[in-house]
């Protein structure tokens, strides 16, 4: 779960990392009031989970409350890079002397945390790592022993002396966020040095481990600030992994790897997936029915591919779930169904006997992908 900038900054403040004074606004009026409260000149920042806000007009310097209002109004109306925008962050404007970078993330290849501090900030850090690797100090932190002073000395070793302790404190705060809030990534870009010598987090990127949300109800609640797509909401409520994509073939499968592979096969067959939907292991008839409803509710869908390899999942239940859903919704597109594995024969028999006109059985995964792609392309061409 990726937090908004303003949510990340609230966590930062809680753990002693200095951040600019700022106020979240959900409308132009509120943005105007916020700028007034901050004393006039301000920065209005769109709150979306996307990079490149600076270049894309998502961060606007304003000199007055009126300008703040106008900027917020435009952001909330236009959205950002195709995303809906619910809120902006209005922050004090600060005199910046220098930009740095600091981050800690869980490095999956070592199973330890990797902290990074760069003497340059406000840039694409992966680009910087390629072009001037010596600008970035890296240090692994083993969770067994936690953060030690030598880690901080090493990380801040390339900075001027007067900045080392200040940046070290920020890194220590980031580590605290990481460990106490179950984050997998905390990033500050840029970490700024003000002309008066203070060091502040000007941005905040925080990713929380979804699996750990059960012990952080207060973070789970932050989701309520996110714009909600009703389809995605329904899928999430049903425990389905659903991601909306840009193509025309609705995809339902069991297991992330199998679904990804199905997406690839559909692409190879000349069409693109409208979504990724993993019903998970041991799916019930009900979960299958909900999945089909979710996928069919997307108007871009021109055909659906149901690809099930039964392990814990029983293909007879899948067949029943499909027929159940078809009683509730009247699909206008064909549903290609491929069943293999546990009780596949029985599942195929159930579908055959039901003889639903919109269901197209397929023998193999490859065939299913080909047929679904053809159907979608034919539908789209009409």
């Amino acid at each position: 779960m990726d937090l908004y900038e303003h949510q990340g900054k609230e966590l930062f403040a809680k753990h002693g990392i200095p951040v600019p004074r700022g106020i979240v606004a959900e409308g132009p009026e509120a943005a105007r009031a916020a700028a007034e409260a901050l004393g006039g000149p301000a920065v209005v920042k769109v709150q979306v989970q996307a990079g490149g806000r600076g270049k894309g007009g998502g961060v606007v310097l304003v000199d007055s409350p009126e300008e703040a209002e106008a900027a917020a109004e435009r952001m909330l109306r236009e959205g950002f890079q195709g995303r809906r925008v619910n809120r902006v962050l209005v922050e004090e404007r600060l005199p910046i002397a220098r930009e740095l970078y600091a981050a800690i993330l869980l490095d999956r290849s070592t199973g330890t945390d990797l902290a990074m501090v760069s003497v340059e900030g406000g840039v694409d850090i992966e680009e910087l790592a390629r072009e001037r690797p010596e600008a970035i100090r890296r240090q692994h932190i083993d969770p067994e022993i936690g953060l030690h002073p030598y880690h901080l000395r090493r990380l801040t070793g390339a900075l001027p002396n007067e900045l080392r302790d200040l940046v070290g404190n920020v890194v220590a705060g980031l580590y605290e966020v990481l460990t106490t809030e179950d984050a997998t990534l905390v990033e500050v870009n840029p970490l700024v040095v003000l002309t008066d010598g203070r060091v502040l987090a000007l941005d905040a990127k925080v990713t929380i481990d979804d699996n750990a949300l059960y012990r952080h109800p207060e973070i789970e609640m932050l989701r309520s600030a996110f714009p909600i797509d009703p389809v995605e909401f329904r899928a999430r409520e049903a425990g389905l992994q659903y991601v909306k994509l840009d193509g025309r073939v609705g995809i339902i499968g069991n297991g992330a790897g199998l679904v990804m592979s199905t997406l690839d096969l559909v692409h190879q067959a000349g069409a693109d997936a409208a979504n990724f939907l993993d019903v998970g292991g041991g799916a019930s008839a009900d979960a299958i029915a909900t999945s089909l409803e979710v996928v069919l509710s997307d108007p871009a869908v021109r055909s659906v591919l149901v690809n099930i390899f039964g392990g814990i999942t029983r293909c007879d239940l899948v067949a029943r779930g499909l027929l159940e859903a078809l009683e509730r919704v009247q699909p206008t597109v064909r549903i290609v169904v491929r069943l293999d594995g546990t009780n596949a024969e029985e599942g195929r028999r159930i579908l055959r006997e039901a003889g639903h006109p919109m269901i197209v059985p397929a023998e193999t995964m490859l065939e299913a992908a080909r047929v679904a792609a053809e159907l979608a392309n034919a539908e789209a061409a009409r």
Binding site: G111, T112, L258, Q268, F276
Partner: protein, 289 residues
Amino acid sequence: MTILVDEGTRVVVSGITGREGRFHALRNRAYGTQVVAGVTPGKAGQDVEGIPVFDTIADAVEATGANTSLIFVPPRFATEAIYEAADAELPLIVCITEGIPVRDMARVASYLRGKPSVLVGPNCPGVISPGRANVGIIPGEICIPGRVGLVSRSGTLTYQIVHELTQRGIGQSTCVGMGGDPVHGVGFLEALEAFEADPGTDLVVMIGEIGGDDEERAAAYIAERMTKPVVGYIAGFTAPPGKRMGHAGAIVTGSRGTAQAKAEALEGAGVRVGRTPTEVADLVAAALP
């Protein structure tokens, strides 16, 4: 010959009185696996269709000589069960549980380093050596004994590929589901190393996906050390960057960890990479002696 599990495997199931634990313990036993004990705190003395239940793994080991832990307990108790199995010095721990917080797993990984226990998983389908032992949830009926080793980050995709092999009459020595979590036990490297050393394995299939750099590191290992042929598959060529695709691991950041980059790394190491599960099976058939 096989890796990790065989006829000598004696399984103790943590969470055996839960719905899933019970179902798969019995299923594994029905396959022929020696499922000798279960563990559920407070239910010592009971049994699950003849499998005795104990209070701790150590008690179970003492009473039954179990040598393999199979874990089905819910995520918030799963790392506890792994620690318990490691402290009981079980050589193999297979953790099926999905949804363990990754920082908890990082601590587990750190604890296991330098210990004799080998962990498979978590969030994995387990390990099967067809005809000998099945420890986990891989459907035994899609496998046949043979000389192809298989290791995979994905569950049902593994079934798909095993299925295609079996349809062509190509049997498997051992199939290892390493699981899709960012921090896990046995990875491609360890499995490849074990298959390379296993006289019962002639060829290895590795099934990867987007995210992380397990495949890239495996490619480096293959180039340097493997003498047996390797056939690969990568899922997620069409996954858009920055999107999470179900598996916690399956998320792409920038150009790193893309399916394209992984496939190229593997091909650079001499691995034949199939573009579909079917092509993978064809490549295996062609490469086998």
